[in-house]
Symmetry: C2
């Protein structure tokens, strides 16, 4: 059985780090010196290596390109105020990754490869972690099928990789959101809960059309009635109504089980704010807005942590929010940041030391 101790490291000859403009770090654009790569064949993960970041040599008949057997995760690593490096809840991402793999007929990735591999890789790249507020090292584990065959069946071979990208603050302006009633992201029985590549490519059209109309993203609704609220862009969504938080529930399998979503629910509970995970439709939302009970709307995800929403546009109607008054969203965001940076105790054991 291979294990974390067998991960072979090939050293770079020269680091790219001096080329990095630390004041200009767009999301997921620059990558560190190393990457982790492992191949799956005959039922096991082999050739596990940390090596210089480099292009891959792939057959043009690669099934991942033709049939989309491809999944990923997004995680962040930080230096805390004492200069120690921590990863935020990576085991949750491993669980979700393997659920995505199961849905897409791909093999499980074991903990030694996903978690210990990630820790070894980050350990080697600590100097790439930005030490500035709202900056982090973005960690991208992903897996794709590598058979070269045009027959449609689960691939027999796969590649698992981890890339690291030093990343600046997510565009932090409060968002304008278009409530989507035409395009669909996911339906019950589909792959909406899995973090597979196709969900993202399929969502681009709606986002692009919303952007042409002046919005930042869409609020997805259900496939059947276009009434039941799902996700906001690529984030989970929370509504604060009558001092209670409501977020769409997961049981239909159309929504990603966000790690930040779960963390936000926990922090809200810690603050004594009750959270309802349940179906919520646009009519209830409009009604709450019109009666002055809809206080805050925000998205949650790894990239932005918490993204404030200043406008929802639904069926000709603008719902506006004063983000300065979004006390709860801002409070939760600060708590999550302070836990990450070691300014608050990690009472829920969310941080994994590198």
């Amino acid at each position: 059985m291979p294990a974390a101790k067998d991960i072979k490291i090939t050293k770079i000859t020269k680091s790219k780090i001096n080329d990095l403009d630390w004041n200009n770090l767009p999301f997921g654009k620059y990558f560190t010196d190393y990457m982790l790569e492992a191949d799956y064949a005959n039922g096991e993960w082999v050739s596990v290596a940390i090596k210089p970041y480099q292009p891959l040599t792939l057959d043009p008949a690669l099934t991942a390109l033709h049939y989309g057997q491809s999944i990923f995760e997004g995680i962040k690593a930080y230096n805390n105020v004492d200069g120690e490096t921590y990863i935020f809840r990576p085991h949750e991402n491993l669980i979700r990754f393997n659920k995505s793999a199961d849905r897409m007929c791909m093999p499980e990735v074991p903990e030694w490869l996903f978690i210990d591999g990630m820790r070894q890789l980050i350990e080697l790249e600590k100097q790439w972690i930005p030490n500035k507020e709202n900056h982090a090292l973005y960690v991208r584990p992903f897996m794709f099928s590598t058979d070269a065959l045009l027959g449609v069946r689960p691939s027999l071979t796969y590649k698992f990789m981890i890339l690291l990208s030093p990343t600046g603050p997510y565009f932090a302006a409060p968002m304008k959101i278009f409530v989507e009633e035409k395009y669909t992201r996911a339906a019950p029985g589909g792959v909406g809960f899995s973090k597979n590549a196709g969900n993202y490519g399929g969502s681009l059209r709606a986002a692009t059309e919303a952007q042409k109309m002046g919005y930042d993203q869409v609020l997805w609704t259900d496939a059947h009635e276009h009434k039941w609220l799902q996700e906001v862009g690529m984030m989970n969504v929370f509504f604060l109504i009558d001092n209670k938080a409501i977020t769409p529930s997961l049981e239909e399998g159309t929504i990603l089980k966000g790690v930040t979503r779960d963390s936000v629910i926990t922090v809200l509970n810690d603050l004594g704010i009750s959270v309802e995970e349940r179906p919520i439709n646009i009519d209830e939302l409009v009604q709450a807005y019109e009666s002055g009970r809809l206080q805050e709307v925000f998205g949650t995800g790894t990239a932005a942590t918490i993204a404030l929403i200043q406008e929802l546009f639904y069926n000709g109607k603008q719902m506006l929010f004063d983000v300065q008054q979004c006390e709860i969203a801002n409070k939760v965001k600060n708590i999550l940041n302070e836990v990450r940076y070691g300014l608050l105790p990690d009472t829920h054991n969310w941080l994994v030391k590198v």
Copy 2:
């Protein structure tokens, strides 16, 4: 403006053709000596080349692998009885390809690149076309995004390619089909009508579970009620009831607009058999079966042309069909084959000469 005449050809040094076992040609497993490759950047297709089949050098942050901006087509080329080479309805595939591209926020591929490029490539590879019954040269045009960036937005660069694969008869045994009521392939407002990679990866789970139960494929139902019939595996589906053909209609956007589907409708009309394109649900089908009016069920697609179905299994109930008696399906299949091989006149101008 680049054009077909600008396609640069790099010659191979030695053909692989003598390694090919002509008696063993599984679908999409072996590829010819050459491939076509073109890159899209700054709004135009550049570096259009026919070159030796070879691996691609791709960045591990390739957006196609992470976010599934990837589409394809499947087409067949044949030698007719006079030894002339024809492609079957490639312009229809070009139209569908560009509809897929539009849905996935990808650029259009122009006719000179798709059709003329394909013709030049096939011209160079004529010796790879199998001259045996039920054999063909399978043509695989595909396009994927090539930006190396983890931000989710339409890529600015793309690669378009055509691969050729000499292919033997599709597994021709009549199929046993499980009517799927749990998993969903597509929903209105989604990407079901587009031939994008993610649709195929997302379908593997249902097919795999059906195969474990002894079936060859699933008959997909709608996402909401799991009643309305969609496609059979990766093919369109036809039902013959009371000497009338019924096939699910396209307007909800959940079904692929098959080129073979369209050809079959035309041949059925030529035979004086009326064809209804309309929603059809499983209850109507069961009722027709129980009253002895459901005569034939078959799938249509490029790989199999017509795939006979000997069993539908729905909710504990077996519906069995004697495929020897499936007169219409077999007649349509023969007509399509005879048109392809030049034994019947090409009255609908389906054949494009290489």
